[in-house]
Symmetry: D2
Subunit: 408 residues, 4 copies
């Protein structure tokens, strides 16, 4: 029985699911694992799946892929573009799209498992495949840990994971130390006083309060952080009001903050909170804003020794120059929790899924108007191949590097 | 058969309906008109109802009441508070409340019709009762006109209407000339470029564009309009984004603008458009914003002679000092279209529904924390009585003033 | 001895002087009064001049003209345009211009005195001419009062004054009740922390603090004042920093606020202070801003009876239709203090100095690019005639209205 | 004849001079060079001084010190604090202070020259001492080059320079590659329309235009630059208006921009210009803003080989650990032009002038309230010693490293 990985990828892409709702995705994974004869459990951390290949003495290597999609309206124009919709935590019906490539992650990991099963005679040790839900909420790895994944399955000696990006296909990006930023997601509710749109003087306008707050929040990065340090303060959503002629009573902002370490985190959070509170005072708000932390992600720090070892392995396998230092990414990940909790090394790398030359040609020809789209864009569309084949190969090479070679 | 007006009002208050969805309200009206033996038609302008009392020779007096409610979450704490929900034009499920008192308008008009039927021997002429939908969208009177209300029913010699407000109960406010402002409702869509919240440099952030636009729009009133002129620029809703870590591709603003006349309208619209376009340029937007006019309401101008006549009638009926000049209201109405289209005079007045002394006492006692709530507030709650009785009486006095007294 | 009023006006226009520095102006006035044989004192309220014509029994009529000019660089292109410079209170060298027409006020009052002296046989009573300094600082009338002007000269039965404006020449504007707004002038010092322009994180940037404050102050008028009420919040000056690469330690704002009455004054001042303080908090300022009131002007309220009497007199003298209701002006005056302190009526009117038809023709011909310039503009240039002749005549008619006619 | 370096430093500190006005400073330098018997010329690049020690065959080493002070009001409380004042290019009287330590640079270079003269037997080659004016304007090195400094004096084989900073005394900070940012200084004049403060509708308010521009400029760094890249957009001065009740016709902003390289420079300049122009459009400005580049400084890039050699020399001379990598500085320098123009290597390093432990103790004791002040702060105050001795020693060690050792 052989997996048809391309069909599997297209199927997942067509059926994206929001965080902690990845039930169909889990079903596809479970079906594939059954075909491969691999032992697994579903429902680990709500909708996660964990699988084990036990192959004699040797290290335990965890390979992790995240499963969830995003509330983004796909505009790629692909044959297999998503038209799916879902219900977000607020109960709103939203479009859903694999705009971050987690479908590629799942497909690659299933392909790698197939290869590791087929080559069991060449290695010994244990491989644990972790199909993690809700990475986009920064909550899935903690949910799996809370559900006992570290105890119910062989504890790792190393945790490995990968992410597809708009690097050129054939390139792998990885660096020692901080690879991805720490991040917090905040929801800020600004409390004003509602009334008729024609009588602003009887209200405390929360939309003006929100606008002033958004403008002032820009100064955290522009004025209060060392220009040489990485910091991001994004207001990713703003919602207030139902009708042009009613001034609403409140406004909601969702913020995404990024920093390289815990010290910077504390400093930026203090500044954001200071500004949010002061702008409410400037509006004459009768109640202070409500600030809630929705999630808090640690920095993704690659182990120095393991990264050096893996970089060498990639260069041996794919040719010198395959691995580049992509710099620190300002995006964040929750894969770190597995390694932090187990007290073992982590290596998390990026692999490329774009043909820049073909893209430039298409743009020159007028077929494409935009630049290469980034993750989370409605136009995000990694090449199916060689990206999928590379994703499989990366995981196989990486796993084998940290497993024991079987005696000849 | 006698109408139980208080029960009718409470029933309408409990079952508010959004604009052009007033089917249950129309049913209640139809049922009451049938009980009163008054001829009527439903479905005039989608969900409107028009009724006629023909009573011999004489002028045709139109009495107009609006029917629709608002997407406001009722917080009055009344026994008969609304818990209703509805679906707004965007398909969103929203709370619904009679936060503008249209339930009081409908009940008062039904009560007045009952009185006019009962006193037919005292007057002659024709009374047309216009139960208008969708005043809150500024679209209902035009819908009824488009549906032939002026031809299918006796054309008016005068159009009369009234609105309940937080004036003291027992007071009527009316003035000659501009009584309510002209108004436009605009939807502005700001077009940016979406992407991951950690990579703002790859995006054109529409939320920052929106915030800067909202702040700049304040300067229309603060700097560009003569301080002695009335002008309002309200941003009543702002919506962008689904998640803290995705920068969305666009933001939507809904604006409500107010002015005393058509010249001011042209000037303010030009300024608003100038600012919206320039702020998009400041953001480096690749496409200009889309600005759509959702509705455009004329000023509500009370006929000088008819207003003088009606004021005298009210003072005779209710005592000198009942009528005050409430000044121009910055709110707007679409009742004018009936009179403009027919080329006849209009008088539109306000009547009070609040006991300020009782309110002040409750506030002093700590039972109530807020000031007297205005129309469109979630706390808006006119006294059931004497407001309802006054609303009935106002319409009867006003109609009789412009009808012919029957020969003794 | 006859005054050459045109030459006198041109001389004053060429030699404008800043507030409380009107020494040359006082000299010209003194010289003219001496020529006319009128008794006077110089140095009343620093640089003011008061003169008396005693002419038997009868009322005491005060005629007031203000003397000072403004730090505005004249750009009228007139032959007699000012090239003068002065030193402002901060010690800065500035251009000076009669951009508010006080040169016209002084010339007109001297002309009126000449006429009143020449016609002594026709009237009886006392005329006091008050040449007041420092109207632009809102400080001159109080300085004269503090210097005893009400005791050292006959106390008024009525105070009269006039101001030249861009109304059409031949028109007089005056209304009963509030004619000009109350006003406060504030200086706000925002305290930050200075440092090198390349290291903003080590500073508290007072320029960003000032910019956010200015933007937020717009919302007082746009959101917090009844759209039907008059209110102005102008930031007339902003100063911070000496060099592009040094972030300064503080920023200074000068505000001019306007309101129709004392209640509105209290409300607006509270809002302005609230915003200024909150924006400093938003910046993380270590010290609160310093807010100083530089001057506080009462509303200019025209006495109802005296205004009616004067309006009738003007219409009799100059023809019906000469007097219009100019509406309330948002500008402010300190002339009120004389009448308030003495407890007597005040009438303060405007007279026109522009030929709109000629202006429109010049604009059509391309000779002039701008609209008719307002007071305080560098282009402000009332027509020399008939403005000057009218200014004289207005004062004579007004004074005579309140003096006693001599027995024939 | 021995220089009293401490007295010389204190004298310079007490008599700071603004850029291109360093005539007294040049006199002190000339006097000292005469005492040391060193050949020199004054007036090189207006107020600069260049000196030469010719000592046989060997490399030509340039040692550069900048001379000018800043318009900062000294608040150090030092015995020898400056109370000097100067006239800035706008003709304004301003306080002047050596807030950037150039007095320490001059004193150290004179001390180093004394040592090099005294030890002539130990080395051979040529030392050129360049006392450069107007570093703070970014204009002095170009002025000296334009005045022929590279031709009138021996051309360098290497250019060396140093800057005192708030690093701990005893520490030297230097790195290969980009050591300091590139920088532009811009003056932006925003053109509005002036008028009376009570009639904003007749004006185009340049202060609101400026405030909106300042707020929007924050988004260049916060939204449009990769969070991992260095960029600074500082508005270091803002000036508009003379009086609270006159709305001025224009506002002036001075901007300081920083970037690591020429590509980033082009991108940021484009964004700044885009925002400035769009905000003028948003205000309805009748004329576009005027944007002038006052100076443009290249990045300060340390030669890789020469830096390695110098680092080793410092560590040998002062002990391992003396040299740290201070990271890239966001400040800028014009020293590069000498090396760029001559096509030779540059090394520019920082040396420490603070005792952090003593500072912390003083703060704990309440003697000092602030953190260690940075360059350009009114509190900037390097320790006289060992800073001065170290500054001398650094230059001697560095010069000797690149000169030839004399044969034993």
């Amino acid at each position: 029985m052989t997996l048809d990985l391309e069909a599997l990828y297209i199927d997942l892409h067509r059926h994206p699911e929001l965080s902690f709702q990845e039930t169909r995705t889990a079903g596809v994974i479970a079906h594939s694992l059954t075909d491969l004869g691999i032992e697994f459990e579903e429902g680990v951390g709500k909708t996660g799946v964990a699988a084990v290949i036990r192959n004699g003495e040797g290290p335990v290597v965890w390979l992790r892929a995240d499963m969830d999609a995003l509330p983004v309206p796909e505009q790629t124009g692909l044959d297999y573009a998503s038209t799916a919709r879902g219900t977000d935590p607020a109960g709103t019906d939203v479009p859903v799209m694999h705009a971050c490539g987690h479908d590629m992650h799942v497909s690659s990991l299933l392909g790698a498992l197939e290869r590791l099963v087929a080559t069991k005679s060449e290695w010994s040790g244990t491989v644990v495949a972790v199909f993690q839900p809700a990475e986009e909420y920064g909550a899935g790895s903690q949910a799996m840990i809370a559900d006992g994944v570290l105890d119910r399955f062989p504890r790792p000696d190393i945790v490995l994971g990968q992410h597809v990006t708009p690097l050129p296909a054939g390139t792998i990006g990885v660096r020692s130390g901080t690879q991805m930023a720490a991040s917090d997601g905040l929801t800020v509710t600004l409390l004003g006083r509602g009334g008729h749109g024609s009588r602003p003087q009887a209200t405390i306008d929360p939309i003006v309060m929100a606008a002033a707050t958004v403008m002032r929040l820009q100064t955290v990065v522009s004025r209060e952080v060392d220009p040489r340090d990485v910091a991001v303060v994004t207001v990713g959503s703003i919602h207030a009001g139902l009708k042009n002629n009613i001034i609403p009573a409140e406004a909601k902002l969702e913020l995404s903050l990024r920093y390289p370490d815990d010290e910077a985190r504390a400093r930026v959070l203090e500044k954001v909170e200071r500004i949010v509170r002061a702008e409410a005072l400037a509006s004459g708000a009768e109640e202070p804003p409500v600030i809630v932390t929705d999630h808090s992600l640690p920095p993704t720090i690659n182990d120095v020794d393991a990264t050096a070892r893996l970089t060498a392995a990639f260069d041996r396998a794919f040719g010198a120059g395959t691995v580049i230092d992509p710099g620190m990414f300002t995006g964040s990940e929750d894969v770190s929790w597995f390694a932090r909790e187990a007290g073992v090394p982590l290596v998390f790398w990026f692999w490329g899924g774009v043909d820049p030359a073909a893209f430039a040609a298409a743009k020159a020809a007028g077929t494409v108007e935009r630049d290469i789209p980034t993750n989370h864009s409605p136009f995000f569309a990694p090449l199916l191949q060689p990206t999928l084949a590379n994703g499989v190969e990366n995981l196989v090479v990486a796993a084998r590097e940290f497993l024991t070679d079987a005696p000849a």
